[in-house]
Symmetry: C2
Subunit: 361 residues, 2 copies
């Protein structure tokens, strides 16, 4: 493929469907000329939109299907009845090595179920997780799981720590990313048993990140660590709470500024600064939930995204595929698992971390 | 006590101890002349501070003790060794009907453990929850549990919905507050089993709120419902994430405004609007975690609060005590429990909500 990266697109996913996907792909192509596209969906809706983007048309193939997975379909039903859906065909393209990665703005549960069945998990991974980049004061951090697994045992949390660390290395170039387990207090005795067990393992194993301990909700936006690890329920609630607070503050700020002529004039003068803030917090810049742990690159774009948001999901997917993320993850996982086989029985037998250190080294 | 409300204060709790508690009590007294205080702690630190507040001195008694519960002491140890601590003596004052309520900025786990042991739970309540008011676009909402119970079964979530509804009625004057269960999607099939079971019960029982369904993280700051119900782990993470994002945005806004003379000048002109925003989001205004479900009023002030924050916790506690919150809760709980005794066995037998409706009515 001579340096090209082929992206399989589910054109029917998301609230806007092709109206966000096609101009989004065109925008991504402007920023990365190496992209090529396989576009799956209703050609009657796709082709008229392509007309406005001759450069995109030149590097894309359109694969018509009448079927699409609806936004609220249950994953099990989507699996059984969605064999010819745009989502499924786009995932198949990755499994058949016709595309390097797939991007969809469709139903998250269905996308995860299909991607797991078709692409399979990497060796040693129990369950994939959804990861995303998030803005903080001075850098972007990685957080996972953002909603794939409602309940997570210690083993899964440890795997997420590894997946997230490799992701932070590949995407953000952190050499030794710091990793924290999300908890409700920083003391060792706090939190669920699974979290405390995961902490005990992460204190012992060598992995591509550096485990620094428990972190709390406020540590996420403060950027205290490079990688925040949590279960999918807590992660999803925290992410959506953060989005909501950001929206609340921007709503209130606008309201108060508009309430007086002086406020409006001041806002006009400070518009450069206000715009910088808005851009920095723009969720479209951080769009693209990576399904980490699959044997293939699958990225979920937020369902409500416009073309700018979708283009960023495409660019993220391309970056991950280009940097051989999965090959790197697979080898790191195998290495940590070998250590864990020594550590887990010891933990269960009640051996203290300090004694464990000697056992492992 | 002729209209007076007596507040027992743990003067040694919180990062600042008496330095926040004493001026905080003086501030609360300015706003509510009916307050009287019993102040527990190290009189060598308390008395010099009282000298600056003659009005407070007139309505307060100081009860010296050398003992204080430290911030990171485990609750079990605090229970055993803290019998003479300022925290314990302040709680005792409520149990002995010398005070109407207790306020402490100390160790949350220890305060909850002591309050539960000394004050006991209201009849029918399994576990108390921590509730707080939170700012949203156009009103304040109630959220619970914010950290008392890491894991919650359906029964507990149902009780929290009742506790939160009565709290919203008493404090915010909502006649029929809307109640949502925090989840990661609004569809019925989503989320943990406990949440879905609690939803099934709340759809059936008559209680002092109106159950409207599942809500997501972004619904908290958007104020979609008057009462958000969740387990203590998720609630604590969501609350701290919200605080962190609020701090992040204010940090970034200041940074960008200061980066250019135009931005600084604009900010000066718009300072009224910026100040309004800051005041509206000020966590000190919402300080005071209510321990709901106890047979006595106990309020936790955030450990990091200054005197203004502490004064609001005192005023909240006084309001709750004054409005006979616990008497109202006890009768509501008894009523719902009678209905639940019909509903729970039916749910377990697999009867559908529609059939249940007939059973109950």
């Amino acid at each position: 493929m001579s340096g090209h990266l082929t992206i399989a697109l589910d054109a029917m996913g998301g609230d806007l469907g092709p109206e966000a996907v096609i101009p989004g792909a065109a925008l991504a192509l402007q920023k990365n000329k190496n992209l090529r596209f396989m576009i799956f969906g209703d050609s009657k809706r796709i082709e008229p939109l392509m007309a406005a983007h001759p450069k995109l048309t030149k590097v894309s193939t359109i694969h018509h299907t009448d079927h699409a997975v609806s936004a609220h379909e249950k994953p099990g039903i989507a699996l059984r009845t969605g064999r010819h859906s745009s989502m499924r065909l786009a995932i198949n393209a990755v499994a058949e090595k016709q595309a390097h990665c797939v991007v969809s703005g469709g139903n998250t549960g269905a996308l995860m179920a299909m991607a797991k069945m078709v692409l399979k998990c990497l060796p040693g991974i129990e369950r994939p997780a959804i990861a995303s980049l998030l803005p903080t004061v001075d850098k972007e951090i990685v957080m996972l799981d953002l909603g794939a697994n409602l309940e997570c045992n210690a083993e899964m949390l440890v795997q997420f720590a590894i997946l997230g660390s490799v992701y932070a290395r590949v995407v953000r170039g952190h050499d030794q990313p710091t990793v924290g387990l999300l908890n409700i207090g920083s003391e060792d005795a706090k939190g669920h048993e699974e979290i405390r067990e995961a902490a005990a393992v992460l204190q012992q194993v060598k992995f591509p990140g550096r485990y620094v301990g428990f972190v709390e909700g406020n540590d996420i936006p403060m950027g205290t660590v490079d990688v925040v690890v949590t279960d999918g329920f807590t992660g999803n609630v925290a992410l959506k709470t953060a989005e909501g607070v950001s929206k609340l503050i921007s709503t209130l700020l606008k309201k108060h500024l508009k309430a007086s002529p002086l406020g409006m004039f001041g806002a006009m003068l400070a518009s450069g600064a206000l715009k910088k803030l808005k851009n920095q917090m723009d969720p479209r810049l951080y769009n693209g939930g990576m399904f980490l742990g699959l044997d293939g690159v699958c990225v979920k774009s937020h369902g409500g995204m416009d073309s700018l948001g979708f283009s960023n999901a495409v660019l993220h997917a391309a970056e991950i595929a280009d940097k051989n993320f999965n090959v790197r993850v697979a080898s790191e996982i195998a290495e940590v698992m070998a250590q864990e086989q020594q550590i887990k029985p010891a933990l269960e037998a009640g051996i203290l971390p300090s004694e464990l250190q000697e056992l492992v080294s």
